[in-house]
Amino acid sequence: MAERTAVLGVGQTKYQTTRGDVSLPGLVREAAYRALEDAELGWDDIDAVVVGKAPDFFEGVMQPELFLAEALGAVGKPLLRVHTAGSVGGSTAVVAASLVQAGIHRRVLTLGFEKQSESNATWALSLPQPFSVSINAGAGGYFSPIIRQYMARTNAPELIGCMVAFKDRQHALRNPYAHLQQKDLTFDQVVESPMLWEPIRFSETCPSSDGACALVLGDEAAGDASTKPVAWIHGAALRSEANNFPGRDEVNPQASRDCADDVFAQAGITNRRAEIDAVEIYVPFSWYEPMWLESLGFCEIGDGWKLVEEGATHLDGGDLPVNCSGGVLSSNPIGASGMIRFAEAALQVRGMAGDHQVDGARKAFGHAYGGGAQYYAMWIVGADKPTS
């Protein structure tokens, strides 16, 4: 049986367009320091460090984990880097958890980061390739046809995406770490925002953020020893698939469905919508909220948009609050974005989510996806220790 594993501490930086006051090492140290402070532990208590970020060519620094080792207190300790594109923050947390679950380490510091102000992610994702024409404009250009396919399949009302974007920006106002703080934003402004990658409006896309997010994970003894509430890991899973093959379901990829089935089975959850109290899913473009709700089995295929329309995913009054933190649509330090979802799920079950807390949350779901919707990382955390 795997060692029971808990999230002992969470550390985040304030997400913003430019953190000009700190270098890359300064940025990651701030998140790591806060995670240790939250866990009431010191650098010496950490046995290993697991780092994730989006591809190196975003900032143009090759293998940055090596020069960040000192800032992360990792000198002389095992240091592991994880690479799974945009899902990396989630995958990194899962890899870090596996080191504790396997009994290899007692306490692991894990961290994801991105300093988008020192890079240009959209154009890094538009690199010319010799065997293709150079016309794809970043992630939006890639995901737009998939969103169009979802809209065609479901006949969802045209403004569902705008509803998601408006909801997440409202949620962000209740999270002091969230990048976008658009107090005066109206729904009409979201709708009237210009199309960038039709059918994706500017208002329906994520911002570019600087930021880092860190977690301290510990074994059962460390979890028991904590004076604060901890988040127990009830399930953690990874899946991937190729990004182009005959008959690939790009809207609802098999890797996504398989990963969800695995993680819910590990957690012993049979009614996903009823048993999960808070959901943090990776939604960089608004339409991905209903798309993932379906793929993750929180509703029937074709019904995801109805949950949005009914307000089921809103923190106020919804039975399945989604992205109470404001989500990727409100903060996107890419390499950290997946870990933020995992961290926010942990904060919810620890009762430490502040103004965006879901009352009485006992189980929460964290999710990340990356590449051409081909890499998946998911975990379920609970306020109670898992029974198995």
């Binding site: 010799p130 150079s134 404009a137 250009g141 046809p145 002091p176 199309m195 005959p246 790009e250």
Partner: protein
């Protein structure tokens, strides 16, 4: 949690003392140093075959030995089965639009593209995956999933060993294929039809 997350932890903000002569100098927070890296691309055998054929206005795919699925551009392997795909197939320069994006922002290195432009997954007749292409010769609001298109090539004297030989894809005017059989749905439609036949 600290009260204001935008204030870094005091434990991390060390004292910095400057020599007196620098006291009034504005601190440098960042420096922009553009760098470039040019790659010499050495294609493998599948890409070589593909790019060489392009210079002769031919589009080559490769056929999976497992179930006959045709991949374009060919990468030498069927990623579903990990099977090598040594056999080339010559494909026509006609097909349909699988999915598409109407892009309204410029991209670097393509100053020639008028905004908005349509990037699309082109599914060639006889191929079982799509590849990227520019759709032109039609108002962007008229582009549809399932719309039939044909390639518009560069003049013969401008052809090179590159996918850029195809300037864009234009509508053929033929009836659309149904959305349920277009793009990534095409493979399933084809399998279902084959099943019915026998």
């Amino acid at each position: 949690m600290s009260a204001d997350p935008s204030i870094p932890p005091t434990a991390l903000s060390g004292e910095v003392s400057l020599p007196e002569k620098l006291a009034d100098v504005e601190p440098v927070r960042s420096v922009r140093t553009p760098i470039r890296l040019d790659y010499d691309f050495i294609p493998g055998s599948a890409s070589s075959g593909y790019l060489n054929a392009f210079a002769d206005r031919k589009i080559l795919g490769q056929r999976s030995p497992v179930d006959g699925a045709v991949f374009v551009p060919p990468r030498g392997v069927d990623p579903r089965h990990g099977a090598a795909t040594p056999d080339y197939v010559e494909l026509p320069d006609t097909g349909h639009v699988g999915g598409f994006c109407v892009t309204r922002l410029p991209i670097p290195g393509r100053d020639d593209l008028e905004i908005p432009y349509v990037s699309a997954w082109i599914h060639l007749d006889g191929a079982d995956i799509g590849f990227l292409g520019l759709v032109a010769g039609i108002d962007t609001s008229e582009v549809r999933m399932g719309m039939r298109v044909r390639a518009v090539w560069k003049p013969d004297d401008e052809l090179g060993r590159t996918a850029e030989n195809i300037l864009h894809w234009e509508p053929t005017g033929e009836p659309d294929i149904p959305v349920t059989a277009a793009g990534t749905n095409a493979w399933h439609a084809k399998q279902a039809a084959a099943g019915e036949q026998g």
